[in-house]
Amino acid sequence: MPSVGQSLPHDSATGHVTGAARYIDDLPRLDRELCVDFVGSPVAAGRIRSLDLTAARRVPGVVCLLTYNDLGGPNHFGPIIPDEPFLAAEEVAYVGQPIVVIAAETVAAARKARELVVVDVEEQKPILSIDDALQASSFIGPERRMVSPGAENDAAFEEALRSAPHTLSGRFFSGGQEQFYFETQAAMSIRGESGDIRVISSTQNTTETQAVVAEALGLGMHEVVCECHRMGGGFGGKETQSAITAVMTALVAQRTGRPARLTLRRGDDMRITGKRHAYQTDYRVAFAKDGRLIAAVLAFYSNGGAFADLSTSVMERTMLHADNAYHVPMLRVTGQVCRTNLPPNTAFRGFGGPQGVAVIESVLEDIAKVVGRDAFDVRRTNLYRDGDDSRNVTHYGQIVRDHVMDETFDRLAASSSYRHRVVKVAEFNAASRTHVKGIAISAIKFGISFTTKFLNQANALVNVYTDGTVQVSTGGTEMGQGLYTKIQQIVADEFGLEPARVRVMATSSEKSNNTSPTAASAGTDLNGMAAIDACRKITDRMRVYAAGLFASAERGLVAAPEHIVIDEGAVWDDRAPSHRLDFGQFCAMARRERVDIGARGFYATPGVDYNRETGRGNPFFYYTTGAAVAEVTIDRFTGELTFDRADLSMDIGRAINPGIDRGQVIGGFIQGVGWVTNEELRYNDAGHLLSTGPTTYKIPNITDTPRVFIVDFIDNPKHQKNVRLSKAVGEPPLMLGVAVWLAAKNALQSLAGDEPVSLSIPATSEELLKRMAALVDQAVPDEAIR
C-alpha cells in the first residue's frame, strides 16, 4: 500500500509527547560550554558615544565581551541588501540592536555582566510609523510598480476610473504580528580542531546561516557547518533572523575555543527580532452596478524596520496578491518599503500576502454595501474564471488556470448554509439590543514558488543501506509542519518500503549545499521532488542490476529493466512474479556487485520566471486556493468578539499526509485569526515594544476557536502537476483568517447606515468598541425609561 495519502503521525510525534524530542536548550551540556548573552541598544535611534565594559569584565565567571571589532569579516549582512551590521558600531537603529556579546561560565554571570555594561548613546528622534517615514522620505529600496496588461495607458486608465458607475477610496491599516514560535531563537556553536565551526541552530535556513557565520567570522563556507534537527516553530521568523544567535555563539566559540550556546529569553526575542510588517494602503477602486471590478489603484507602504532583511521581497508578494482570487481588469499597484527605527521586519507565514489580500477583501465587502448585493455574490462575480481568456489573466500577466474556485464557493455556500444564516443573522441583529452578529466569506488564491527564481531549487541525498533501510537528507528543515514525515512517505513509496524503514536525517549544510530556506510553502514541493530524483537514480541502477539477476535463458526471460518491480519490500521481474528477492537482501547483493545504491537528487521548478523590472511573468508554478465562511458575535457594550463558527474549504491537491495537512490548514487559519483579532504590537513613543511576552501579546487561546469548525477539502482533477499531485499548504490557509475580520466588519455594518464602515486590523475589542461608538454616537442606544 502506498504510504503517500496515509495520515501517518508526525515522525517526531512520539518524541513530542514523551518529552524526548530535543530542542537547542535541551541538548546535553558540553565540556567547558559557555553561556552567551548580549547587550542591545537602549534607544531606537542614536550614535554610540562610548562603551564601558570595565565593570562587566570584572564579574566573576565572565570570560569575554566582544564587539564589532572582534568580527573576522565585514560587519554587514542581509539576504537581499547587505545593509545590516552584525553588531552595532557607531549608529544604533532600533531598541535592543545587539552591540556587545557576552560569554560567561554561567547564566547568572552573563546576566550580571549585561547589567553592568554602560552604553552611552546620543539619542536621536526615531522614525517609528509609516507616516513618519513618508515625511522623512526614509525608504528601503525603490518604489515598485505593477500594471496589469491593458492598464498601461494613463488616459485610458483615468477614464475607466472616471466613467465607472461607482468608485470607493480610502486608506487601510493592518498591524504587525509576532511569529511567537514557542522555541525562541537559539543556537549552539562548537569550534573544531582546525578553527572550523559547527553551528547547531534553530533555523529555517541552514545555508544562509552557514554563509552568514562564515562571513562574520572571516571563514570560508567550507569551514562552517550548520545543522538543524528541528525547530520549536518557525513561521518565517527563523528564515533570516536565526542568524543573530548563530553569529553570536559562533563568534564566542571562535574567540574562546569553547562551545557556546544562546537561547533568547522571550522578552529579548520579541524586542529585537523582526515581525510581520505593518502596512498602510491607499486605494481607489471603480466598479460596475453589480459590483464587478473595473479598475483599481493600490499604493502599499510597509513598515520595514531599520534594515532591509526580506522586506522588498515581502512587498513584492503583497503586490502579487493585491488581486487575491479576483480579476481586476485594470489594476495598478505600487509598493514602497519604509525604513523606520524598529527591528528589521521579516518573513512571517504569508510573506506579505495577507496584507495584500486583506485590502481587496475589505474593499469587496464595501462594494457589496454600495451596490446592495450580498458580499458572497459580489465575490463570486469577481472570481478568476478558469478558461475564460477575458477573466483569467493576473495583473502580472500569469494565467490563472486549472482551479476550482467557483465550485469551492458554491459548495461552501451549501455546506455552511450561508444564505439561511445570513437571514438568521439579520433577524438576530434586528432583535438583539446587546449583541450584534456578522457573517462573511473570504477567499484565497496563493501563488506557490519563491518569487526570486533562483530559490526554486533543491537537492537531496539518499543513502540505501545493505539491510534495505534508507536515510534521506534534504535542505528542508522541520519546524513542525511535517516536512520530514512527507519526505519519508515519498521516499518509502519510491522504494516500495514501509515508512519505518526510511529515516529523514537532520538538515545539515554538510549534506545539502546551497539550499533555499524552508519557506514559501514550498518545502515539500522542492525537497520532495529532489528526493524523488535521487531515488529514481538509485532505482534505475537497481533495475539494471536486477534485470541481469532475474534473466533466465531456460524460462526465456531476457534481461529487461523495464520489467523489474521494486515494491512491497521486495524486488521481482513482473514476468516471473513468484521469484522475489527481499529488498534488504537485494541491496546487500547490489553492493557486493559494486552497484551504487546512494544518490544525490536535484530539482528546479520548471516554468517559473518573473521580471521584477517590468512586473511581468509567471512567478508561480501553480496556486493553492480555498475559501472560508466565518460568523462572529460582538458584545455591543464591550466590543468583545466571539468567534462562533468557521467553514473552510480548500483545494490542496492530493494530500501526501491528510492528517498533517489538516493541521496545517487549521493552524494557519487560527494564526490568521490571531492577526486580525487580538494580536496587537504596542510600542511607546520612544520605540520600545510594550507587548514583549504572552502576558501582554495575546495569541489565540483554545477558547478563542469556534465551537463549530468544519474543515473540508475539495477535489480538483484539473491539477496535474507537482510532487505526487499535491499542493503546498503551509501559508494559504492563514489568509482565510481574514474571513473572521470581515464577519466583524459585517456585524458593524449592520449598525451603520449606508456608508461602508472602516475597521483596522487587528479588530481588537478596543478597536471594535471605538468603531461602534463612532457609528451610533455611543455604543448603547439610549432608550426611553421604561
Binding site: 530542542y23 561560565e105 554561567t106 520549536g232 516553530g233 513561521f235 519546524m479 457594550f637 504572552p694
Partner: protein
C-alpha cells in the same frame, strides 16, 4: 527542625538543601543548578521535557503534575501547575510528575497515544504541557464518560499552542475516557511515598542557601536565601516578627513571574501553604471564610453553586494551572489595581482577618488599600483569612472582567455590581471598578444615583455616565484611557440588560 526539602520526582526521592531550594521548579527539573553556578549536582537526569517558552506562567509548556496526600484516603491527588513560576521550596512532601513520568514502560500512555494518533503535535514544543494538562484533567475528572468540550476548553485554557489551532488537540481530548485512563497514582509506589511523608512528619522546615554555596570563582555569589516552611500559624507569626523583610509566599504565581524577570529576589521566604489551619474554606454565620493558603481551585469548586456570578469570572482568573497554585489572599495581598478578585470583595464588603504576635485585628477590605500597592498591613502582620457575606436572594450580583483575550489574560477593566432590588426599586447599590486607577475604587456617585429609584435602563445609563466622571484611567499596553472610560460606562447598561432584560445570546445561528 528539618533542614532539607524532601520530595519525589517521577518516583525518585530528592533531598534538597541550600541554593537549589530557591530555584524555580522548571530550572531544577531541567538541570538549572548547572546554569546558576555549578552548585550541587542534580539527582538523576535532566528532565528537559518540561519546556520553557515564556517563563511567565502564560503558556503552560512547563505544565507538570504535583501530587499531595489526599485527606485520609491513602492516596495522592494530582493537579497541574506551571513549573516555571513554582519554586522548589513549595514541593516539600510532594510528588512531581513530569512528561517523562507519565509513561508506563515502553508503551505510550493513553493521553500520549491520543495526541500522536490525532496529530495533536506539530513543532512539539508545547506538547509536553498539553499532555500533562490533559492527564491532569483526567486525574480531576469525577464525571462519567468522556471529557466534554466545555471541560476540555476550560481545562486546556492554560496551555497555548502556536502551530495546531488546537482542533486536533481537542480531538485527542475527546477520545479520552477518564475511566479508562489509569491514574498516575497507579504508576508509582504511592503507599511508600505516603509512608515516607508520614515519617518526616508535618513539622516545620528551614532551608538556608548559605549551607551549600561555595564560591567556585565561576559565578557571582547569589544572595543568600533563608526559606522557612512553618507548620503552624504561631510559628509563622513568630518567624514573621523576627523577619519582617521575609516575603510571604502562597502560590507564588505572581512572584514567580517577577523572579524570572529579575525584578525580585527576596532574601527570606515564609510559605503559608504549609500551615494547614490557613487552608480553610467554610461558611460561618452566613459569611464565607477563605483562609490565606486556600487555592483558587477550592474557591472555584465552592462558588460553582454558592455564588455563580463569582464562579463565572473566577474560571477566567489566570489559568487552571494558576488556580491550582494561587490563592485569593495572594491576589488581595499583591494589590494589583487590576487584581481580578478585588472588585467582588469590595462590593460584598469582605473583612480581612490580620494576625501578628501582638494579636489579631479585622479590617474592611476597602480600608486595606492605601494607594498603589500600599497596604494597611504592619511589618509583622499577615492576612489570615477573608470573610465575605454571602449575597442574599434580593441581591443582583454582576461581575465583569474585560480583557483583550477572553481567557488567561490580565484585565483591562473589572467591574462589580451589587444591587439590592425590591420590586423594581434599587434599595442599595455598591459598585467597584478595577483597572481605572492606582487601586480598585468604589463609584459612590454612581451608586447614589441608583439608590431609591426604579432600576431602569435610563437610570443605569445615567449612572454609567456619572461613573465615567469618577475615574481617571491611564493608557497602557492593555488599552487606552478612552476605551476604559467607555467600558465602564457601557457595563452599566450591560448589567441592566442582564439583570432586567434579555439574556445575552452568544452562539452560532441555528
Amino acid at each position: 527542625m528539618r533542614d532539607s526539602l524532601i520530595f519525589y520526582v517521577n518516583g525518585s526521592r530528592h533531598e534538597v538543601r541550600g541554593e537549589a531550594a530557591g530555584l524555580t521548579l522548571s530550572d531544577y527539573l531541567r538541570g538549572g543548578e548547572w546554569l546558576r553556578g555549578g552548585c550541587g549536582s542534580l539527582q538523576g537526569d535532566r528532565l528537559c521535557g518540561t519546556k520553557i517558552a515564556c517563563a511567565e506562567g502564560d503558556c503552560g509548556a512547563c505544565t507538570v503534575l504535583v501530587g499531595k496526600p489526599a485527606d485520609n484516603s491513602g492516596s495522592l491527588t494530582y493537579q497541574s501547575i506551571d513549573a516555571c513560576i513554582a519554586f522548589v521550596y513549595q514541593m516539600d512532601r510532594r510528588q512531581i510528575v513530569t512528561v517523562e513520568g507519565v509513561q508506563d514502560g515502553p508503551t505510550l500512555s493513553p493521553v500520549q497515544q491520543a495526541m500522536v494518533d490525532c496529530h495533536g503535535s506539530q513543532c512539539g514544543f508545547c506538547t509536553p504541557g498539553f499532555v500533562m494538562a490533559l492527564q491532569g484533567l483526567v486525574e480531576e475528572s469525577d464525571d462519567n464518560g468522556p471529557l466534554t468540550d466545555d471541560a476540555l476548553r476550560l481545562g486546556l485554557s492554560g496551555n497555548l499552542c502556536r502551530c495546531t489551532g488546537y482542533s486536533q488537540i481537542l480531538d485527542a481530548g475527546r477520545r479520552l475516557d477518564p475511566e479508562r485512563v489509569p491514574s498516575i497514582s497507579t504508576r508509582y509506589e504511592t503507599a511508600a511515598m505516603l509512608a515516607d511523608f508520614a515519617t518526616l512528619g508535618d513539622g516545620s522546615v528551614r532551608v538556608n542557601s548559605r549551607d551549600t554555596h561555595q564560591s567556585n570563582g565561576h559565578a557571582p555569589a547569589p544572595p543568600p536565601v533563608d526559606i522557612f516552611l512553618p507548620s503552624t500559624l504561631d510559628e509563622l507569626l513568630a518567624h514573621r516578627a523576627k523577619h519582617p523583610d521575609a516575603r510571604l509566599i502562597s502560590g507564588a504565581t505572581d512572584i514567580g513571574v517577577q523572579f524570572n524577570h529579575g525584578r525580585v529576589a527576596p532574601p527570606a521566604i515564609i510559605t503559608t501553604q504549609t500551615v494547614s489551619e490557613l487552608n480553610r474554606l467554610e461558611v460561618v454565620d452566613s459569611e464565607l471564610v477563605i483562609g490565606a493558603a486556600t487555592p483558587w481551585s477550592r474557591v472555584e469548586a465552592y462558588a460553582k453553586d454558592a455564588i455563580p456570578a463569582y464562579h463565572a469570572i473566577l474560571t477566567r482568573f489566570g489559568s487552571p494551572q494558576v488556580r491550582h497554585a494561587g490563592t485569593l489572599v495572594g491576589n488581595l495581598a499583591n494589590a494589583s489595581p487590576i487584581a481580578d478578585s478585588i472588585p467582588f470583595h469590595y462590593v460584598a464588603q469582605s473583612t480581612l482577618e490580620l494576625a501578628s504576635v501582638r494579636g489579631r485585628r479585622d479590617i474592611p477590605i476597602e480600608e486595606f488599600y492605601l494607594g498603589y500597592k500600599q497596604l494597611d498591613l504592619r511589618r509583622d502582620e499577615v492576612i489570615v483569612a477573608v470573610r465575605t457575606p454571602l449575597p442574599k436572594e434580593n441581591v443582583q450580583l454582576r461581575l465583569y472582567k474585560v480583557s483583550k483575550r477572553r481567557d488567561m489574560d490580565i484585565s483591562t477593566v473589572t467591574l462589580a455590581f451589587w444591587l439590592e432590588v425590591e420590586g423594581n426599586f434599587c434599595t442599595a447599590a455598591r459598585i467597584a471598578a478595577g483597572g481605572v486607577g492606582p487601586t480598585v475604587v468604589r463609584l459612590p456617585r454612581a451608586e447614589e444615583s441608583l439608590i431609591g429609584r426604579p432600576l431602569t435602563l435610563g437610570a443605569m445609563q445615567t449612572a454609567g455616565r456619572i461613573a465615567r466622571d469618577e475615574i481617571k484611567p491611564i493608557s497602557d499596553v492593555r488599552g487606552g484611557a478612552e476605551y476604559r472610560l467607555q467600558l465602564v460606562q457601557n457595563l452599566f447598561a450591560k448589567c441592566w440588560h442582564e439583570v432586567m432584560g434579555e439574556e445575552a445570546f452568544v452562539g452560532t445561528t441555528p
